[in-house]
Amino acid sequence: MTRRPRPELTGWAFLAPYAVAVALLVAVPALLNVGYAVTDHTGLTRDPQFVGLANVRRMLDDRFLLDSLEASLAHVALAVPVRFVAAVGLGLLLAAPRPGGRWFRTAVYLPTVIPDVALAVLFLWVLNPLYGPLNQFLGLFGHAGYNWLADPTTARLAVVLMLAFPIGEGFVVVLAARRLLDGRLYEAAALEGCGPFGQLRRLTLPLLAPVLVLLAVRDIILTLQVNFVPAYVLTDGRPANATLYLPVYIFDQVFEFSGFAYGSLVTILLMLITTVIIIGLLLGVRRWRVLR
C-alpha cells in the first residue's frame, strides 16, 4: 500500500526551492549586512573586528552623507511624481482602442527595454551642451541652453529627465487595469452628466486607487535605487555632490574606499528611509479603502 503524502507537506515541498533561494540570497546577506555594520570590515580582510556603534558615530558627523541624503530625497520628490504622472497619464490615454494605438503603446514601452547603461550613454549625447539635441531644441526658442551636467540643479533635472522614460512597467499595469474597468460604469456616469474629467476624477482614479498605490510604493523603492546607473554614467555623483544619491554613496564607500562596514550601515539607512516614506504614503491614502 502506498502512503499518500500529507497535503501540508506537499505545500511546503513546492515552496522549498523558493524559500531556500530567498534565505540564501536575501535573508542571510541582509542579516550579515546588519552584522557587518557594527564591525570595521573593509571588504578586503578576513577578520572584521566588533566596533560597537563607532560607525553610527561616524555617520552622525558625515557631511557627505548629508549631501547624499539631500540628493536622494530631492530625487524621489521629483522623479516619483514625474514618472507616476507619465505612466498613469499615458496608460489612460492609450488604453482605449484607437487607430495606430499599438504603435504609440510600443513607443512608450520601448525605453524600458533599453539597458540602463545604453540609455544613460544616449542621454550623454542628448544632454551634450555643444551638439546635444536638447540644447538645439531650446535654441529654436532663442534660449542659449544649459551645460546640463555641470550645474547641480540641471544635473539633478537631467537624471530625472532620463528616468522619466523607462516607465513601461507602470504604464502597462495602468493600461491593463483601466481596460478591466466596466464600461457600463462610465455609461451610468455619462447618464448623470459626468463629463470626461469628472469621470477621471470620480471613477477612473478612485477605481484604480489600489493599483496606483501599489505603483507608487514600487516606484519609491525603485527610484531610491535605480538612479545609480544614470548618476554613475552621467555625473559620477558630481557636480558638488548634487547627484551623490545614496546607492552611489554606498558603492563608493564599499568598493572605492574599502568601507564595507560603513557602507552596510548606509544600506540599512536607505532601507529605513524607504520604509518611512512608504508608511507615510499608506497612512496618507488610508481613507481610499484600498487596503482591505
Binding site: D182, R184, L185, E187, A190, L191, C194, G198, L207
Partner: protein, 332 residues
C-alpha cells in the same frame, strides 16, 4: 403630460450586422412598454439609442416631440437601470445615490436628503453605509432603482432589470416594479428576453426579432392573435404547435396552421388521433408530448393527472386555430 417617446425609422448597424432595422414606435406618456425578443434582436440597442449612449445610423428619436439627436445622454431626461446595475463599487449606497445630484452641483445636504428619501421609498434606508459588494443582488437592484428615481426622469429605461435575480426574488420584484410604476405614472421602457415578464409587466408588449418589430399590442392580444409564426412560437410556454400545410389540423399547402397547447383537449369525440410519447407533470398542470400517425408532433397542456400513460393512443379536439401564410409566415 411629458414622457412621449417616438422612434422613426430608427436604424443602427455594427459592421455587417444590422442590430436595429427601421424601427417605428410610439410610447405614450405614462405607459409601461416591454420590448421582448431573443438575444440579438436589437432590444438593448434600442434602449441605448433612446438613452443617447449610442447614435443611430439613420432615423430619429423624439422625446416629447423634440428630436434629441446630438443631445448628450444627461440632457435627455432619461434614467437607465442596467442589467448588472452598474453601481459604483468604490462608493457606498449613499455615495452611489448622491453621485448624480453631486455631479449636477446640488448642495451636499440637499443631495443627501433626496437620496435618503429615495432609499426610504425602496426600503433600503438601513443600507446607506454599505458598499455594493456587501449587498445581495436584490438589494443592489433596489439601489439601482433608487438611483434612477433620483434622476426624476421623463422616461425610465430598464435593461433586463430582473435577469440577475433568482426566481422567487424575480417574482416579488416584478410585483414591486409594477407598484412603483403605478405610483409614479412615468413612461417606462422595459427590455427582457423572458416571455413571462413580457406578459405580466407592461401595458403593451413589442416583440422584436432581427432588429425589426414583429408585433405591438397588449400582452393578451399579442398572445391571442400573434401577427406571424415567429411571435406565435416565441410567446407562450410550451410554444404554439405550428403545422406546415395544416396536416392533421386541416388546411392546404398555402397555410401554416397553429394551435396553442392549452387549446388542444383530450376528447373522445376529437378529430385528431395521436400517441402519447412523454408526459411532463408540472404539479398544477401536465404537458403531453404526442405524435400523430403522419409524424406531426403536438404538445398538449392538460390539467394535472390526465389519466393517460406514454404509449396510449388519445383523441384530441383542437379549438381556436391560428392560420398563417406558409410563404411569409404572416397571419391570415
Amino acid at each position: 403630460m411629458k414622457g412621449v417617446i417616438r422612434l422613426e425609422a430608427l436604424t443602427r448597424s455594427y459592421g455587417a450586422t444590422t442590430a436595429v432595422d427601421g424601427v417605428d414606435l410610439t410610447v405614450r406618456a405614462g405607459e409601461l412598454v416591454t420590448l421582448v425578443g431573443p438575444s440579438g434582436s436589437g432590444k438593448s440597442t434600442i434602449l441605448r439609442l433612446i438613452a443617447g449612449l449610442d447614435r443611430p445610423d439613420s432615423g430619429r428619436v423624439l422625446v416629447d416631440g423634440a428630436d434629441v439627436a446630438g443631445m448628450p445622454p444627461h440632457r435627455r431626461a432619461v434614467a437607465m437601470v442596467f442589467q448588472d446595475y452598474a453601481l459604483f463599487p468604490h462608493l457606498t449606497v449613499l455615495g452611489n445615490l448622491t453621485f448624480g445630484p453631486r455631479v449636477r452641483r446640488v448642495r451636499r445636504a440637499e443631495a443627501d436628503r433626496r437620496a435618503r428619501q429615495a432609499a426610504q421609498r425602496l426600503g433600503i434606508a438601513d443600507l446607506l453605509d454599505r458598499y455594493p459588494d456587501q449587498m445581495s443582488g436584490g438589494q443592489r437592484q433596489r439601489v439601482a432603482l433608487a438611483r434612477a428615481l433620483l434622476r426624476d426622469p421623463s422616461v425610465y429605461l430598464l435593461d433586463e432589470p430582473l435577469a440577475s435575480l433568482d426566481a422567487p426574488l424575480r417574482f416579488a420584484t416584478r410585483a414591486d416594479l409594477l407598484t412603483l410604476h403605478r405610483e409614479l405614472r412615468t413612461t417606462a421602457i422595459h427590455v427582457t428576453h423572458d416571455q413571462h415578464e413580457a406578459m405580466t409587466l407592461g401595458d403593451r408588449v413589442v416583440v422584436l426579432a432581427e432588429g425589426r418589430i414583429r408585433q405591438v399590442g397588449a400582452p393578451q392580444q399579442v398572445y391571442d392573435e400573434p401577427a406571424d409564426t415567429f411571435v406565435a412560437g416565441f410567446l407562450g410556454s410550451p410554444p404554439m404547435n405550428l403545422v406546415p400545410g395544416g396536416g392533421v389540423l386541416g388546411g392546404d399547402a398555402t397555410l401554416t396552421v397553429g394551435v396553442r397547447p392549452e387549446d388542444l383537449t383530450l376528447d373522445e369525440a376529437g378529430t385528431v388521433t395521436a400517441t402519447v410519447e412523454a408526459i411532463e407533470a408540472l404539479g398544477s398542470e401536465a404537458v403531453l408530448l404526442t405524435r400523430c400517425p403522419d409524424g406531426t408532433r403536438l404538445t398538449v397542456r392538460t390539467g394535472p393527472r390526465p389519466g393517460v400513460a406514454p404509449g396510449d393512443e388519445v383523441r384530441l379536439r383542437a379549438d381556436r386555430l391560428h392560420r398563417f401564410e406558409a410563404a411569409t409566415g404572416r397571419r391570415r
